[in-house]
Subunit: 214 residues, 4 copies
């Protein structure tokens, strides 16, 4: 397993050191000494095209970030040993006291495509990915049955429906709900269009996704 | 739940659009049309100070990123419905065919601190975070028993030990192991010092963490 | 019925005469002498916010325009005396030899809202509007059943689905089909967002609505 | 059917966005949020030279517009499935509560010319256009029999007679008549001379077409 660390990552790291770190050295030192106090948690996809720090142009200390396939929040109450998302939620909400949680999905999501493909009878290869995507399988079945929609429309629709579900699942964690009810925490949805770069934010009342005024 | 999307995120997003997106429009469009083909998966911490895209100065399409508390890879073979990390692993390895997986830890990790505090009898508040950290509890107990070490040394030690464990857990997934054995995939560890900005990479043979030559 | 012609229309007409007509007098005279030769037919909604001449910034002689509620093309083969849309289609295609037909829908369409309301059990008042909207009632029922969607998403979806149906209905008129097959005529869909001013055009292969590159 | 959207329309649309939309952005947004409330419905011809928004210099939200061949209002009481004009009439009168309906004809109308040609034994090609024009065939026969008139005089005469008939047909819809009787709605005729740009308005009592004072 004597594997050489990828040189392009070391090159990038050197850029970071001579660039961002050099200009923000004090901020990094202060963040190290005083600890992080991010105001915002983002639950985003693993996708290489949707890094929240890039899209929101955020620096060190600003975003506490969970990334899993298709930015899903599993429901509360699972009898599971390692609930990765819930553990991170607790850490961010109870311990870091974030004020905002943003579930950020994106267009052309491979996970969502996998869920739709499963509904169409073509489950993705693997023992775990299929189970993970069962979180959206009911919705995927309903969307996939809408033959009036183009495949791309089905994809966008399921991406947005699943963001709404994840925001709802967030609310079902008692430690989230109590803080939302107290006005200490707010929940948001967003959807990023990789091609156009557009960000659509979810209206919390209607569930609609709209582009913020420029 | 009619909550206004945080304005500082929208401000950052506008910076992104007028900056990075404006100069990389073609790259985003091409990544949207042709799909992502990242060569590298990074398993990093949710911590707001350790975004892999920032530290490795990577642009869109380069890094497939899993982020959970303390950048842990749970062991294979769990009888669990939603194995977030394994699902993302399968997606990146089987479907995206990444060539590298980097487990990237960092100094002053709150999750690792929580594991050590638990060993010392002060478990962090919450129903899920404690369970999540049982993944490193045996190691935390052993580190915590080393009374010759300062608390800061115990912390750094457990951060690095858990990276080694996560790399080992990676190897125990058959779809990872077979590709590593075939030379199609390599596994790496790295540790980032938030204060100094130093990156230490793990030697795959010895498990040592060393600073790469400048 | 001695009713005075609305003065605000006469005021607008005087603006036209001193403005556009004064600068395009020769064009109007030529169009009168030589007759119209529009290259394009647009089938648009009656809605006061979606005039095709305004949205496409077109002058006299450019667009042959049908406007009905919800920009619908009824199917061919109806045993009806006065098929308004088919008569205009024949006039534009056979007699004027237009090269393009654009079915242009728009957001927040009252007709489409009426079709969805009918599906939900609240048919709009009137003897004719309900019958007219039966053209999209099957699709409206399917869309209305999608409880995963917000009302606004249902509305946009039906607006776009009905554009696709209208384009399909166009193709079913033999005099349209033969010219399309000969390459003399092309059919298009478009959707206009009243609020943002965005125009989305339909991809003829996939049926997707996309914004053209800026 | 993968047909490229006409580039001259996209060029015009860009002019609209940088011109009218840019200066009236607030009006468009408000019209989107609050819905349309046009005071006036115009029933005009599909002819590319007679766009009512152009001739009355009207902006978004001002005119609810029906356009069919020769700006005809079919009679009420037809046993037809899709009565396009009546459906739009109901929508504008009952739902939008317009205060004015203008039937606007124009000179050199191809539909009216077709009706006269039919009377002279030369019916226009097509299965639908001929049926549509039977609405004015009795009048066309009578006009065509007036051998003292030049062809151009016959044309103008039938254009104006048919406007009077359409205004009368409007009055025969009970939901129109009741509002006219209550003073909530007024009906108008107008005739536009494409060559000279002149607008002639109909006197509701006498039926005469007169040029309004400048």
């Amino acid at each position: 397993m004597a594997q050489v660390f990828p040189s392009f990552l070391l090159d990038g790291y050197r850029n970071f050191m001579s660039g961002r770190y050099a200009t923000e050295r004090d901020r990094y030192r202060s963040l190290a000494e005083e600890g992080q106090r991010p105001r915002t948690m983002v639950i985003a996809c693993c996708d290489s095209r949707s890094a929240p720090e890039t899209i929101f142009d955020c620096g060190p200390g600003e975003l506490f970030v969970i990334r899993n396939v298709a930015n899903l929040v599993p429901p509360n109450g699972l009898d599971t040993t390692f609930h990765s998302t819930a553990a991170a939620l607790e850490f961010g909400v109870i311990h870091l006291k974030v004020e905002h949680i943003v579930v950020m999905g994106h267009g052309r999501c491979g996970g969502i495509a996998g869920a739709l493909a499963t509904s169409a009878g073509h489950a993705p290869e693997g023992d775990f990915i299929g189970k993970w995507l069962t979180m959206v399988s009911d919705m995927a079945n309903r969307v996939q049955a809408q033959s009036d929609l183009s495949l791309s429309e089905q994809q966008t629709e399921l991406e947005r429906i699943s963001i709404r579900q994840s925001v709802n699942n967030l609310s079902a964690f008692p430690f989230v709900k109590s803080r939302v009810d107290d006005g200490q925490l707010s929940l948001h949805g967003a959807w990023f269009d990789i091609s156009s770069g557009e960000l659509w934010t979810m209206n919390g009342d209607s569930g609609d996704f709209l582009r913020p005024a420029a």
